[in-house]
């Protein structure tokens, strides 16, 4: 699987990773690895700039947290705008994947 194949879908992956609650970057990477069965392993150095772009677009909100006895981490949460964007982008993805499946499946038929 090539990274290029995911072009345009990183945002929806990141937004989905925050759907059930705030996470820090490390947890997002772990979540993606787990959910993809080890297929998706984002380099942290490229994940954070993407998160910052989503933050600049108002889709996520970042906040430094340092619970007692734990390391300082920047935690990201979906904003209301991000929640709306996630619904739209997940719908777009479902439509896109349905079309691709239909076309690719049809090619063998």
């Amino acid at each position: 699987m090539q990274g290029q194949a995911l072009k345009g879908h990183l945002d929806v992956l990141l937004l989905t990773s925050l759907e059930r609650g705030p996470r820090h970057g490390y947890a997002i990477i772990d979540w993606l690895v787990e959910r993809s069965g080890g297929e998706l392993k984002l380099a942290a150095g490229t994940l954070y700039p993407a998160l910052h772009r989503l933050e600049a677009d108002g889709l996520v909100r970042g906040q430094w947290l340092e619970p007692p006895g734990e390391r300082k981490r920047r935690v990201y949460a979906l904003t209301k705008k991000g929640e709306r964007a996630l619904v739209t982008r997940q719908h777009d993805w479902i439509v896109f994947s349905r079309v691709m499946n239909a076309v690719l499946g049809g090619a063998n038929g």
Binding site: Q2, G3, K7, K41, A43, A44, G45, Y48, R53, W64
Partner: protein, 221 residues
């Protein structure tokens, strides 16, 4: 080299590279530092290696400084876009003022030099709206570049005319109107809009064909 040294050196290099690239260093640098220390601790615990080795692996997994800076470039809004938006907003404000002034004065017909000027500003406003959408990622119409170039050049020419050769062209309608109303800020806004807009479009064009994000995938197992 100890754990902290490897990570500190990487973070210093990252910060310096971001500064050289003219990009913001925070919160990325602080976030990278926190991430690397956490990753190194996890690697050391999971694999039983020394702190220095764990730190080296954490740094390698994070990605080279060059890759990170490229990722920041891809994800940071293009530098000229904010200026293009400000210039567009200035032109739109002038349009609103002009419409308000025309309605209040009730002298839209027969067309005067000022009405001609109003038409001219309306055209600029259309360009502003399209430019605004373009720098936000909308499709760029083919005419936008030439329109920006024309408006920018015209704005600059009118500014120069108003400033330098004003006395030699006393009967030229636009100059005489602008002299009466002092439209210098508009001419400047046009010139800046043209230059910043063209720069923004050029920077956008160079990004076409590159992935909007880099994803490094590792084979399973």
């Amino acid at each position: 080299m100890a754990d902290g040294d490897v990570i500190a050196e990487y973070v210093r290099e990252l910060e310096a590279s971001l500064r050289r690239a003219g990009r913001p260093t925070e919160p990325l640098v602080e976030e990278a530092r926190a991430h690397l220390h956490e990753d190194a601790a996890r690697i050391a615990a999971a694999e039983g290696c020394g702190e220095a080795e764990a730190a080296r692996r954490a740094v390698a997994r994070f990605g080279g400084v060059g890759e990170v800076v490229r990722a920041v470039r891809r994800n940071t809004p293009i530098a000229a876009a904010p200026l293009a938006r400000i210039a567009s907003a200035a032109v739109l404000l002038v349009l609103v003022w002009e419409v308000f002034d025309a309605i209040r004065g009730g002298d839209l017909w027969p067309p005067s030099g000022e009405d001609l000027w109003l038409t001219f500003v309306a055209e600029l406003a259309v360009v502003s709206v399209v430019l605004w959408r373009a720098v936000r990622g909308a499709r760029v119409p083919a005419w936008l570049g030439p329109a920006l170039a024309a408006n920018g050049a015209l704005g600059l020419a009118l500014f120069v005319a108003e400033m330098v050769v004003n006395a030699r062209l006393p009967s030229w309608p636009i100059i005489s109107v602008s002299r009466a109303g002092s439209f210098t800020p508009l001419w400047l806004a046009m010139a800046v809009q043209g230059a910043a807009g063209l720069r923004a479009l050029r920077q956008q064009a160079t990004q076409v064909g590159q992935p909007s994000f880099p994803v490094e995938l590792q084979p399973p197992g």
